[in-house]
Symmetry: C2
Subunit: 338 residues, 2 copies
């Protein structure tokens, strides 16, 4: 069967089911939606007819008529990140019981693309939108404002939400990590991260980090950025580069766990004394770390719970506060001396 179905009949509509079962379209509609009173025998007849015909309702028409759409737009920067899939899991787990369905859009960290994705989604008149981050184009903010649906911005709460925000303070997260590092006695600290001007959360973490360093009279002794390629590999390479330039550096702070893991592998391969002579830390708390020879220090980003809470707000299960702050826990692992 190579052709797109040599279908004899036209596409099925309520009318077809109605004729096949001998009742009005309205009654069929009621049966299929489980709404209103329909007698048991009629219900059976209709379901039988729908089943044998293989009728699939047309939600487009349904949505237009009822002015109700069971879709929730979810706008995220990337899928290859391991962090957003987990947010999605949280969202789905809550939405599953509600009849609402998530629809994902990916922006690749591009503001213009985000604007387009939001526009496209809004044009389907979803019941709500969940969007990563608080930074959007003016046009996007305007559209979201006008949409008249609940908007939940997730992951970050350092800024002004359009509607509601659920997330952690990345600035605070960076600060906390810096404080822990300083408390452990490290002094020559370097930063390794992504070259992404639009990854505002990574940026805010670094800002918070440097802020705390400054308060202790320290500054970063070096920094290194990358973009593209295997994060694990880049982590190794960047670490090698930093260590070559600064043999006396005693701590490496990575903007995410993946490059941190690469760095850790490099240090172990070089036989460096971790965490004695050199400490390392990442960010996110990804599951992958559990499998490494040594546990990288990290900070859990509350991804699952962020997804759940956001979905609960959309589903009306949560009293919506403007900002819902979650608090990540620092996991010292084996790469900060205790």
């Amino acid at each position: 069967m190579t052709k797109p179905t040599p279908d004899p009949r036209h596409t099925l509509t309520l009318r077809d089911v109605s004729e096949a079962s001998g009742v009005s379209e309205m009654t069929v509609s009621r049966v299929l939606r489980n709404r209103g009173d329909v007698s048991a025998p009629t219900r059976e007849k209709v379901l039988e007819a729908a089943r044998t015909l293989g009728y699939v309702p047309n939600k487009i028409a349904g949505a237009l008529a009822s002015q109700r759409v069971n879709l929730v737009g979810v706008v995220i920067p990337s899928l290859s990140n391991m962090v957003f899939p987990e947010v999605m899991t949280g969202i789905s787990s809550v939405l599953d019981g509600t009849g609402l369905q998530p629809v994902v859009g990916v922006t690749n960290y591009l503001p213009d693309r985000e604007e387009t994705v939001i526009y496209e989604m809004l044009s389907w008149r979803p019941s709500g939108m969940i969007i990563a981050g608080l930074e959007h184009t003016d046009a996007a903010r305007a559209m979201l404002n006008r949409a008249g649906i609940p908007i939940v911005e997730i992951m970050d709460i350092d800024g002004d939400p359009i509607n509601h925000a659920v997330g952690i303070s990345h600035r605070r997260a960076g600060r906390q990590m810096a404080e822990a590092i300083i408390a452990a006695g490290y002094r020559k600290i370097a930063f390794l991260g992504t070259q992404m001007p639009n990854d505002h959360r990574a940026r805010k973490r670094l800002e918070g980090f440097e802020e705390a360093l400054a308060k202790a009279g320290l500054t970063l002794v070096d920094r290194e950025f990358y973009s593209g390629g295997s994060a694990l590999l880049k982590g190794r390479e960047m670490t090698a580069a930093i260590l070559a330039r600064n043999p006396d550096v005693d701590f490496l702070y990575y903007s995410n766990d993946m490059i941190g893991a690469g760095g850790l592998l490099h240090c172990l391969a070089e036989g460096l004394d971790v965490p004695g002579k050199i400490g390392l830390a990442g960010f996110n708390g990804v599951e992958l770390l559990d499998g490494l020879p040594r546990k990288l220090a990290t900070m859990d980003a509350c991804r699952l719970e962020i997804g759940k809470r956001a979905a609960e707000i959309i589903a009306g299960k949560l009293i919506p506060a403007e900002k819902l702050e979650l608090f990540p826990t620092l996991q010292p692992g084996d790469t900060i001396r205790g």
Copy 2:
């Protein structure tokens, strides 16, 4: 701003733009869709009005009227797999130029859930569907058959497609890997994989693998399965378990790269002679492998190209053959002796 927009006006429609710009709704529609002849001044007026009002078209109404929907349903088992995001990248890269938009649905490897997801998607009358795998419930197959749209089943071609299939032969992939392993002189071979009865592709690989072993008069000396948890960690644990049970095993074939990477880390930590005394191989060709201390042997699953070809078929850019087979390349890495 905590309330879902205390909007003064009702939701905007074409009529609003039409009144604001002094032309008919039809002309506004033409301008906004860039269809038909509209004079430059009129076009300007309309665009200006739409922009200042902040009008977002209602695709639901548009789709109903035009009987055209620019959506392509993509049904995949999981997002946390690293393999499907790459397929998505391929799909998006092709669809981006066409006005078509992918909508993702996730099944978690559950056939019933897949059926539901397909039903939901079809009820939005998409222009095409891309679905991972060839195994579906009868009801799902029936619905897809009736839908009258192009259906592309991806990843796998060992079976009967509904419409079109784009993918690799996992059975052949398993066979090839076995042949390479045997050719390299390994004889005591064990398998480590996921406990997922519905991961048909992993199953087929194993079948092909054992088939080739049998042809050489060999059988698996041991096997180990897992489910859930950090794949990397599970890989370590399972590898430790197998090696404890069978100290003389000389090759470990993993059903995916992630557990393979865990196994590799374990072997290296134990100081085993890889690939001299023991060889390892995974499957997928994930980017992560580039960052490991040693390169795991693997087989690229052509994910990006599968996504592209599938999207091309949907977009009508590719003459649709029933089966489009792609051929993965074996990447021996450093874990099979050469």
